[in-house]
Symmetry: C2
DNA sequence: CGATTTATTGCAACCAAGTTGCATATACGG
DNA sequence: CCGTATATGCAACTTGGTTGCAATAAATCG
């Protein structure tokens, strides 16, 4: 397997792994197989992913569930990943810089079916004025719950 | 104690309890001391309350923690109480009709100190348009996290 | 490349939050 | 005030997540 990585014509997959690897190193974390797998999975996911999702997705990789917990919190701490509770009492994680999970954005969760959607940054506006703490207008994280189109 | 309740000049506290009692009965729940205590505490609280808060507040009432769990879920089920996870992975409950907790309203949580504030209904507007599911505009629950004035 | 250092992993044990089963107690309709 | 359905208390259990520690493997350096 080392041989493959060292080939002279890197496949797209190889360069992607290399990119992840250097993002990890740049954040001061070692590039271990477990972390590469986690980060890579989060990048390819179109919505925030729970620890349970991850355990299931990487089931046959042999990575321990404790390692996954630790990876998620490490990655969150260095800012490569964001963690949020979308109102259903489940921690979910999303890459801080994939196409789907790039910038911070509001999330919508259906209270009926649990479906999760990422909204655009512009879709929610917070008024300012009396009664509204200045602070609220500098929101870091917004989440909305309701019935999705299908369930309503 | 029954004698006191039957007095001819009900104190404000007595009529308040009577009101809670009939709200419970109207919802098909029996008016037990535990439920009256829980509901009464939630009504007087100015912010959403966690199960742990409740256990502490009613510590010397002798009410079992399991009963408190069950009371909270029962009250939530009949709609006298609303339950939400404000993003910190803790279930919090608020009366569905106290002065503080009346109508559904957005919540703000400080990511630093954990302070929670109730916002006015009007303070958050959700845009409609492409990319935004129609559903999101019919939000049931909105929560915002960021730094409060004091922590920023 | 091989040795050294230090971060990371796996495993088992642990902890807290929340739930369930069941016997006892109690609210409330008659 | 009685009978019955509902609620409570207690103990046991489940689930999600954390911690301690010995073994392993990245990165660094010669």
């Amino acid at each position: 397997m080392i041989a493959a990585v060292k080939g002279r014509h890197p496949t797209p997959a190889q360069s992607k792994v290399a990119a992840l690897r250097s993002r990890l190193r740049a954040s001061g974390l070692r590039a271990t197989p477990a972390r590469l797998a986690v980060l890579s999975f989060l990048e390819s996911a179109s919505r925030p992913v729970s620890h349970a999702d991850l355990v299931e997705a990487l089931a046959d990789s042999g990575i321990d569930r404790v390692t996954l917990y630790r990876n998620l919190t490490d990655l969150t701490q260095v800012g490569l990943v964001r963690r949020a509770d979308l109102g259903d009492h489940v921690w979910r994680f999303e890459s801080a810089q994939s196409k789907s999970g790039h910038a911070e954005h509001p999330h919508f969760t259906c209270v009926e079916c649990g479906e999760i959607a990422c909204l655009s940054e512009a879709s929610v506006r917070i008024a300012q004025g009396k009664g509204i703490p200045r602070s609220a207008t500098r929101a870091l994280e917004i989440q909305i719950r309701g019935l999705c189109d299908r369930c309503s």
